[in-house]
């Protein structure tokens, strides 16, 4: 039986990473909003300058959540970027790492460099 058939609509690794970023940022922002607004009235944070716009409580919650979501998205995206561009699997074992550069006495095969404090 031929099992090697293309799987349609499967997401690429990059798409899955982005989906995780959006989802985790949403969860973090939601948790953050719950904790924050359990302690603080959002209207107190807005200050007097916003009074003329007559921001209601719901809009204040919405705006604050959007702000938190944006911050979490930034943090998650940067984390994803650092992981994707960072050391790959096996790095800790030394895989994929450049061999340590060869270092030796500068005067080795270079007799004119032997008068320096390079020993």
């Amino acid at each position: 039986m031929n099992t090697e058939h293309p799987v349609y609509r499967r997401w690429s690794m990059r798409q899955r990473d982005w989906a995780v970023v959006f989802w985790i940022a949403f969860l973090s922002a939601a948790a953050g909003a719950f904790v924050l607004f359990g302690l603080i009235n959002p209207l107190d944070m807005i200050g007097n300058w916003a009074a003329e716009y007559d921001i209601g409580v719901r809009l204040a919650y919405g705006l604050a959540f959007a702000f938190l979501y944006l911050l979490c998205l930034l943090a998650c995206s940067l984390t994803m970027f650092m992981i994707r561009t960072g050391p790959q699997r096996g790095h800790a074992r030394g895989e994929g790492r450049r061999p340590r550069p060869e270092i030796h006495d500068p005067a080795k095969n270079n007799p004119d460099l032997d008068d320096e404090d390079w020993q």
């Binding site: 300058w49 074992r93 790492r97």
Partner: protein, 457 residues
Amino acid sequence: MSLAEGADDSLYRKEAKVYPRDVNGTFASLRRLAMVLLLGLYYLIPWVNWSGHQSVLFDLPARKFYIFGITFWPQDFIYLALMLIIAGLSLFFFTAVAGRLWCGFACPQTVWTEVFLLMERFIEGDRNKRMKLDASPWNSNKVVRKLTKQFLWVLFALWTGFTFVGFFTPIRELGQSVMGLQLGSWETFWLLFYSLATYGNAGILREQVCKYMCPYARFQSAMFDKDTLVIAYDESRGEPRGGRSKSDSPAKKGLGDCINCTLCVQVCPTGIDIREGLQIECIACAACIDMCDQVMDKMDYEKGLIRYTTEHVLSGGVTRVFRPRIWVYGVLLLALIVGLAWSVNHRVLLRADLLRDRNALYRELPDERIENVYTLKLINMDFKPHRYRIETDNDDMLLLVSPQLELEPEQVGSFILRIQAPANAGRGSVEVNVTFSTEDEPVIKRTVNTRFLLPFE
């Protein structure tokens, strides 16, 4: 036997400790100059007073930021945003022109690591002596040197942490609190936290921060092009490399100019071999250029085997400095700097907010006039006390304010403003412009637009 016990089968390969060799030369001098200048600014600025305040003080409890005689309030958030954009654009601009200039000369990680290395060299000696000391068994000499180094590092880290907190709490008061052992809990926390961060980053982690933790190193390649200045080894001139005596003719021996002394590797603070090509670990400190130039001098060869150059030059072309991205970054940067300077210079040192009394839309007075009540919030952002005048563009309206509009320097005042108008002034809602101005300086003037409510019928 577990895998970790056998050296070859170890699960982890330890990062080799880097012992950078000391180097002198043009770029080393520039790096030291940058270090003295930047750290001098960092450690001295909080002690300098300007217009009666600490020259730079971020007073978070009072929500005022003092920066060289200018007080920024939370309402001036736009300036902070502009400054951050300018900082970001500067990074783009200088990276596109000269590569990792920031990393090599101005990054706090580089600058503080340089200081910690200076102390290490002073106590333990240069590269070879440090390597021998680390490899030697513990004896009185090693204990004394290691303890002295740690003492200096901790002392310097604590001073750094103290200065950091001094940007947020007046540093003279902070100094007195430290001397009297009366430091507050948050100040103690931040002092120790920043000291630990300095000690850990500059003393222990060093190049690991640049290699694994810094995001800038990862996305810098997006700002590089073939005309960006990079530090490069001239492979066509240097290879094949090999040892030789000064009297030998490289041509006869079939060698290039690189004598394979490995000194360029020994001076590198991140421990890389620049001869392998441009690497993400290279922070462009130019220590290898200084060292290689000295070796080339000694061998009577032309300097510049390792040098600042561009990919275009290395492939036989010519560097084009003024390319589209440089123009775009440059023009944007210039426009933002000019805009910020103009805006700060023309900032009105008065802020006024009018808040309508929400309990009553309007009030009918016995003399058939209509009255609206507002809460007026005035902020005197000047360093001088002021008395303010209040007027409106509508001659029918009468403005009554209490108490008198007088504010001390940098004071926030709250007042009750009553605006009265004849009943026939209109119906529903009428727009009113209320202007506040100082009696002594006409430049300080602010107009606030609000609505005056009247009966609808």
